[in-house]
């Protein structure tokens, strides 16, 4: 059948509105979940790219052999580290956190009234923040070696432990998002297939008549399939519009979508748009396919 023609009264369907709404909501949910997964990806990338070339060197206030280092000694050690690192061409930036910076860092915990008075008595560690051109394990271990020669107590923290934890968390959230999307799609497909089945039961005498007139399975199935496709497309468009409105609202209103502004070079926006189209398209096609399979099963049971 080339033209859009129904022999069966499929459009006179009171549950059509419900089905469109359901598909719309499900499309929206699926899109929101996918958007969240993509944001997490962007966020993880953003964090790791910001931190992976950063490391901090700590000069403990307490000697491993016992006893405390005074501020002067810590300052001296810091200067030696600074001098050693400056010869390394891979080192981009070195920042020694002085007493004032330390106090600023500690203020939230010790309270602002604590001020400098008495603070000098506190055994504060020295901190040096280093930015490298690039990082790998060899560079890190050779750096560690050189620092050990200056003083065995120096500790290097490359944030890897913290970062890998965060990234693991992002990955598992993404897996959860993918699973949710699959659940959402299956729910929709099951609902559409069920609705088609119910429709088929109501129209059974008419379907049987077409069958008796020699209408092939494809002729009959095509009508249900097209009906399911039209309903789910309407729902999908509804869902896309709702998702687009919400995402635009977030982007322009609050500006907290991390993906769009942090990762333009990674085509996050393009990927989001692609997903915005592909996901509902897949949902519609799978719905139509489910309707087809459902109707075929009923037809095959006819003589």
């Amino acid at each position: 059948m080339s033209r859009a023609h129904y022999d069966l009264p499929l459009q006179q369907d009171r549950s059509a509105g419900f089905l469109i709404l359901l598909t719309g909501l499900m499309t929206f949910l699926a899109l929101a979940t996918c958007a969240a997964a993509l944001s997490l990806n962007a966020l993880a990338f953003y964090w790791s790219s910001g931190l992976e070339n950063n490391l901090s060197i700590e000069i403990p206030a307490e000697r491993s052999k016992g006893g405390l280092r005074d501020a002067e000694e810590i300052q001296l050690l810091a200067e030696r580290v600074d001098k050693a690192l400056k010869q390394d061409t891979n080192v981009r930036e070195i920042e020694i956190l002085d007493q004032k910076a330390m106090n600023d860092l500690l203020a939230p915990w010790l309270g602002p009234q604590q001020n400098l008075a008495g603070a000098e008595d506190l055994p504060l560690p020295g901190l040096i923040s280093v930015t490298l051109g690039h990082t790998d394990t060899d560079i890190l271990s050779s750096l560690q070696e050189r620092l050990k020669k200056i003083d065995a107590d120096l500790r290097v923290d490359d944030h890897q432990e913290w970062l890998s934890g965060i990234i693991r968390l992002c990955r598992s959230l993404q897996v959860a998002a993918v699973v949710s999307t699959l659940v959402i799609i299956s729910t929709t497909v099951i609902a559409v297939a069920g609705a088609m089945r119910a429709r088929m039961e109501i129209l059974r005498p008419d379907v049987e008549l077409l069958h008796l007139m020699g209408a092939g399975d494809n002729y009959i199935t095509a009508q249900f399939q097209r009906h399911a496709l039209i309903l789910s497309s309407k729902g999908a468009i509804l869902g896309i519009l709702a998702a687009a409105v919400v995402l635009c609202g977030l982007y322009f209103g609050i500006g907290t979508i991390p993906l769009a502004d942090s990762m333009p070079e990674h085509g996050m926006l393009g990927m989001l748009l692609l997903m915005l189209l592909l996901l509902p398209l897949a949902l519609c096609l799978i719905s139509a396919l489910a309707a087809r399979i459902m109707v075929l099963r009923v037809l095959r049971a006819m003589v």
């Binding site: 022999d7 077409l210 007139m213």
Partner: protein, 232 residues
């Protein structure tokens, strides 16, 4: 064209509605199927239009054993059978035009051809002014004419009509019988189930007589035709 050999039919676990039916319809033949109400005329028709499987026996149509035919083959066989159901079975949501056009759409005829043929036929059965009307808004006789138009629109090889003149007044009844005769002369094999003694006498075609599930063939006087079934 169609042959029944030892065919039996029962509904569910009920008694046999049709028992040991044997007959052959030659291509181009014209038969009346008659018998008292409840004798199984409609049931026999449903076997002939392939709407049911017999519970026993063998049905051969176009030289093919029906029970061995594939689904597409069955669909093709059904496309060449026109049926006028006793209860019409028109699709109530489709106009008279679309109801009659249905068989043509099923076999994939171009819409232009459909428009011409359907309008012409509806005109011919006296429903030219009711093409857009929905069946529930029409009288029983009008619905029956739509049903007949739908059955003949594809010029079927086999035409089965279950009491087609029941709701029609004599003039239109005769006109439709003439239509069936015309189709028959062009080669369509025809079986008409009817109680109408006047009609059967007037046209004199051989009769398939069903009584309590058994069938015998009554050759009409003055008509030389081959026996189509065994006498039981």
């Amino acid at each position: 064209m169609i042959r029944f050999e030892h065919v039996g039919l029962r509904y569910g676990f009920g008694p046999e509605v049709l028992s040991d039916i044997n007959f052959t319809l030659d291509p181009g033949s014209f038969h009346f199927l008659t018998g008292p109400s409840g004798a199984g005329k409609t049931s026999l028709m449903s076997l002939m239009y392939l709407g049911r499987h017999p519970t026993r026996g063998r049905i051969t149509m176009y030289d093919q054993n029906v029970s061995e035919a594939t689904r597409p083959q069955l669909a093709q066989m059904r496309q060449r059978i026109g049926v006028v159901f006793q209860d019409f079975r028109l699709l109530p949501h489709l106009s008279a035009f679309d109801n009659v056009a249905l068989p043509l759409r099923i076999i994939g005829r171009p819409e232009k051809e459909i428009r011409a043929h359907v309008s012409e036929l509806l005109e011919w059965v006296g429903l030219g002014d009711y093409q857009r009307a929905l069946p529930p808004t029409l009288s029983g006789g009008q619905q029956q004419r739509i049903a007949i138009a739908r059955a003949v629109i594809v010029r079927p090889r086999l035409l089965l009509a279950d009491e087609p003149t029941g709701n029609l007044d004599d003039e239109i009844g005769l006109r439709l019988m003439n239509l069936f005769d015309q189709l028959n002369r062009m080669g369509t094999t025809i079986v008409i189930a009817t109680h109408n003694q006047v009609l059967m006498d007037k046209f004199g075609h051989p009769r398939l007589l069903l009584e309590a599930g058994h069938l015998r063939v009554v050759r009409a006087r003055g008509w030389i035709r081959r026996t189509m079934a065994e006498v039981l």
